[in-house]
């Protein structure tokens, strides 16, 4: 028997070169990756599987996958002195086995466009040239694209996305809950007009390739967005979409108009289609998804019903339950998932903290089927189980919090968690 094997091996060695090319294509074909046992803790629709791509990276915020499969992740705070983590899957088992890092600033935004890697701190946006080998050319010296953006504690992260015409869009969140004279104070009136809107509470557009831009070089592309951490350019209809995190604490601050349950459920978290010059209403208005309309905020004379100036504000494309904190938005353009998912929107909900005494909600990735930028069906939960508990009573019980989303070149979906820094990769395998 051993003799036969020796013979076989010898013949194999001799003939190997002739099969080399076939092996190459086989590697491509046959190394379809397999999900982890129990899908690495996630509950997914039938046919989908998940695997843990990487673990314990730190406060992993947004993520992008390059065309060669390299993964870049922006960390909110430096870990071991690095603010961007680069992951690579060298042995093609679907999981990262090569970790490196660069960038000396924390932040949230990261994107790739036209062979540049863009990343943001809470005040600045940088970009790094990617060379022909898909490597960052100079990790230590990025180009400084935008600077001087307002960062005052609340909602200070700067998410970014780019269009196909050389522009970059930056979320500048409002440094306030609802622009009250005394922020988050029971009964405090809203400032009218809200001065925050001059420099925040909107989406700003800048040139993607111009150095050292500040507010004066940018355009306030849209206003009245409180904080849109999740944003993405929809290439099907060539428009910007964002996910707004609605205001907090209607009950705590306005118990004369809202009971505790209403405060937990209102207002909606809203998906907006953003066109230049639009106004989405913050802080004057918010969307009530039970009445299906924008209504006047109590800080500005609202009583739970009045509409007033809100008649002129843009309505959402999709409304979600309150306080679930959407942090990531991605339009799916891949070929791996079934047809239903094409051009639909994935949304990473970070999870709520101010729905008590109701249980906290969110902590999952949702999906909205969409065609030509319009919903083509009801939104649904796509990936659940991140929180690790049945019912979330307290924020700290939550194990993982979905934050960023990215699509790999093969069409798999990557989800970050900014609690521990785990990265899931969700695949669809019809052959299973």
């Amino acid at each position: 028997m051993t003799k036969i094997f020796k013979k076989l091996f010898a013949v194999a060695l001799v003939t190997a070169p002739f099969f080399s090319e076939a092996a190459d294509s086989l590697i491509k074909e046959a190394t379809f990756i397999r999900p982890d046992a129990a899908n690495a803790g996630l509950k997914l629709p039938a046919g989908f599987g998940a695997l843990m791509y990487a673990e314990n990276l730190g406060q992993a915020r947004h993520i992008v996958v390059n065309k060669n499969g390299d993964v870049y992740i922006k960390l909110a705070r430096l870990k071991n002195g690095k603010g961007i983590i680069k992951l690579r899957d060298k042995n093609a088992d679907g999981r990262s086995d090569d970790t490196s890092g660069f960038a000396d600033y924390g932040g949230t935004g990261i994107a790739i466009k036209n062979n540049y890697l863009y990343a943001s701190s809470n005040t600045d946006v940088y970009r790094y040239k990617l060379n022909a080998n898909n490597e960052v050319e100079n990790e230590a010296k990025p180009e400084h694209i935008i600077g001087g953006l307002i960062s005052r504690g609340q909602h200070n992260t700067k998410s970014i996305t780019l269009d196909n015409s050389g522009n970059i869009y930056v979320n500048i969140g409002a440094f306030s809950n609802s622009c009250q004279e005394q922020d988050r104070q029971n009964g405090s009136k809203g400032k009218d007009p809200c001065p925050i809107l001059d420099s925040a509470g909107g989406v700003w557009q800048f040139k993607a390739d111009k150095l050292d831009q500040t507010y004066k070089d940018g355009v306030r592309y849209a206003t009245g967005t409180r904080n849109v951490v999740g944003l993405d350019w929809n290439t099907e209809i060539n428009e910007l979409f964002v996910m707004q995190q609605g205001r907090d604490q209607l009950f705590q601050m306005w118990p004369q108009f809202y009971n505790q349950k209403q405060g937990a459920e209102l207002p909606a978290e809203e998906m907006f289609l953003v066109k230049k010059g639009m106004n989405f209403g913050w802080p004057y208005c918010f969307y009530d998804h039970f009445q299906n309309k924008k209504i006047l905020a109590p800080e500005y004379g609202g009583d739970g019903k009045k509409i007033g100036r809100c008649a002129e504000m843009q309505n959402p494309v999709v409304a979600f339950p309150g306080h679930m904190a959407p942090n990531g938005l991605l339009f799916y353009t891949g070929n791996m998932y079934p047809e239903k998912y094409k051009n639909g929107a994935f949304i990473a909900f970070h999870g709520s903290w101010n729905r008590s005494p109701e249980p906290q909600e969110g902590f999952y990735v949702a999906f909205v089927p969409m065609k030509e930028g319009k919903p083509a069906g009801k939104w649904e939960i796509f990936a659940n189980g991140f929180s690790g508990v049945e019912k979330v009573e307290n924020s700290r019980d939550v194990k993982y919090r979905p934050c960023g989303l990215a699509q790999g070149p093969d069409g798999s979906l990557y989800v970050t968690d900014d609690n521990k820094g785990n990265i899931w990769r969700i695949i669809y395998n019809s052959k299973k």
């Binding site: 076989l8 091996f9 013949v11 194999a12 060695l13 003939t15 190997a16 002739f18 099969f19 080399s20 076939a22 092996a23 190459d24 086989l26 590697i27 046959a30 397999r34 982890d36 046992a37 129990a38 690495a40 803790g41 695997l51 843990m52 406060q59 909110a76 042995n91 093609a92 088992d93 999981r95 504690g153 609340q154 909602h155 200070n156 005394q182 922020d183 988050r184 104070q185 029971n186 405090s188 604490q249 705590q252 903290w353 101010n354 008590s356 690790g388 508990v389 009573e393 307290n394 924020s395 700290r396 019980d397 194990k399 919090r401 609690n419």
Partner: protein
């Protein structure tokens, strides 16, 4: 390495086939994953100093009505937004500073256990001296904390100076 293995395997398989001795290729190995179990920490109830018990009970009410929305029922806070009230230097330390936080609120970057919190805390000066004394005595003797009671007189004294 992978390519070498596949190339050789391929050659072997083909050679075997030529010898009309079909054999099945090795089944791809399935990777095992380990999902870590959550370690649930339960808030330890500290024994309160004798006279403070009634104050603590009243404070519990105020806490759940006023503070719990932000600091959560278990005092654990919300990561990166609202800080925990568990064994922090602010909760256990100088009472004048602690009373001051309730009366004046807090909106400056503070760091607890190497973590920053971005939300502001609004002033809670609408609470009475008694309510503030009670809620702080409750916080200082709950969530694993153990520290002296806060009295109405102490709150009154700090309020007079603000």
């Amino acid at each position: 390495m992978k390519k070498v293995i596949i190339t050789l395997t391929l050659s072997i398989v083909v050679v075997i086939l030529l010898w009309a001795q079909p054999k099945k290729p090795l089944a791809t190995q399935q990777k095992k994953s380990t999902t870590t179990q959550t370690k649930k920490s339960t808030a330890v109830q500290a024994k309160a100093p004798a006279g403070a018990q009634a104050s603590i009970e009243r404070g519990r009410q105020t806490y759940s009505q006023v503070c719990a929305a932000c600091h959560q029922k278990d005092g654990g806070g919300v990561p990166r937004l609202n800080p925990p009230l568990i064994k922090t230097e602010y909760v256990l330390g100088d009472k004048t500073r602690l009373i001051g936080i309730i009366l004046k609120g807090l909106n400056q970057p503070i760091e607890i256990d190497d973590e920053e919190y971005t939300n502001p805390m609004p002033p809670q000066s609408h609470l009475t001296d008694q309510q503030i004394a009670d809620v702080l005595t409750f916080v200082r003797n709950n969530f694993g904390n153990k520290a002296s009671a806060v009295t109405t007189a102490e709150v009154k004294a700090v309020r007079a100076k603000t």
